[in-house]
Amino acid sequence: MGRVRVLVGTRKGAFVLTADGKRTKWQISGPHFGGWEIYHVKGSPVDPNRVYASQSSGWFGQVVQRSNDGGQSWEAVDNTFAYDGTPGTHQWYDGTQHPWEFKRVWHFEPSPTDPDTVYAGVEDAGLFRSTDGGKSWRELPGLREAKGHLWQPGAGGMCLHTIILDKLDPGRVSVAISAAGVFQTADGGQSWRPANRGLKSTTELPDATADVGFCVHRIAMHPSRPKVLFMQKHWDVMRSDDGGASWTEVSGNLPTDFGFPIDVHAHEPETIYVVPIKSDSEHYPPDAKLRVYRSRTGGNEWEALTTGLPQQDCYVNVLRDAMAVDALDPCGVYFGTSGGQVYASADSGDRWTAIAQNLPGVMSVEVQTLS
């Protein structure tokens, strides 16, 4: 039947939620690192006991934690994220150039083939890699040469928040940066190019179809189809059928196409999920109803999933890294809210249950499917 382990990062610590394959009774452990902001917790696909956590604080900076027993115990590993060489500058709010300064790790992406290899997406935007389980980090500096001098932080910071690895082609990596856009390498990180053709930001950019400057919120890919990418942009839900070379809008009948997370069903590569949010200045659901929208057609045609979700007086947000799916059948879907709820559906989104209700604001949700 299998089991699931849900790794939840919150504004005041990490929590680990576990259940058997029925996904009806949940046990919660934590907080781990109580009082610290946990931007992301993610396990290795090849060794589920190997888990990485990003622990940060306005007082004490960045700490990287690693577990070798599925989150029961932790050890601090290297927290040195030094940009390669002279890091150079990027655009600043006043139009001047500003030097790159490390602030925090937003996202860990463990390798699909090696438990000791893990990528870290950081703010100010950069991509680091460890090949020794987090004991040391090296930047892939070629990314910042992809017009980095034109990148400019958005209100949430200039963060690299999405890392897409292709198990079938290890040299191919896609990343997304707020507010710079999508960037890709085909040679393992030596050279990078913007991959934003087809994106439009008519109110946020003076040139609506510029090479860089797009506030991409999240990208998702089904591992069996690396050429198909789905994107939740600041506004607009997009898809690419050519590996990111071009994008087309698939917002269709969504009540609003603003939002943060997007994810793909584990067994149906054309079934995708988003959580519409009213607007970029009102980070809560439209009509005060928390609704996940599912498309079984890869976009354009969307249905609201509401059973078990609050349908009145709801003003929470769902952040970009706070949605995940498990690999059981039926597929489980999970998301966490700024109000500290974690919702789970064990039937691909038809019905939802709050499996945690009073956690600190949720920043990230990841799921491990265990044998």
């Binding site: 007082w59 900076g61 700490v63 927290n79």
Partner: protein, 98 residues
């Protein structure tokens, strides 16, 4: 022995209870105390001082003998009372919030 006190979160990170006692050969300065502290507890590297510049993180302060030493030069000798172990060298998290 030099006595060092840490904020709760750094004590948890370093897995220590109470004060940290350090033996320092040579001049006892803020730099030598923090170097010794980080050598004893490497997980604290980067959490008190910047990795590269070794500058104090903005929301931490260094107190001793009822004085704020945060803006003192790092190689200025610490007060005798700290050197003798009569008073602790305190790493303090700044008040923040409302």
């Amino acid at each position: 022995m030099i006595r060092v006190t840490l904020p709760q979160h750094l004590r948890t990170l370093a897995q220590v209870d109470g004060e940290v006692a350090l033996r320092i050969d040579g001049p006892v300065t803020q730099r030598s105390v923090l170097d010794a502290l980080e050598a004893r507890h490497p997980t604290l590297k980067g959490t008190i001082r910047d990795h590269a510049t070794l500058e104090r993180r903005p929301f931490l302060r260094f107190f001793a003998c009822s004085r704020d030493l945060s803006h003192e030069r790092p190689d200025t000798p610490l007060p005798d009372a700290v050197v003798n172990g009569d008073e602790p060298y305190m790493v303090v998290g700044a008040i923040a919030g409302g």
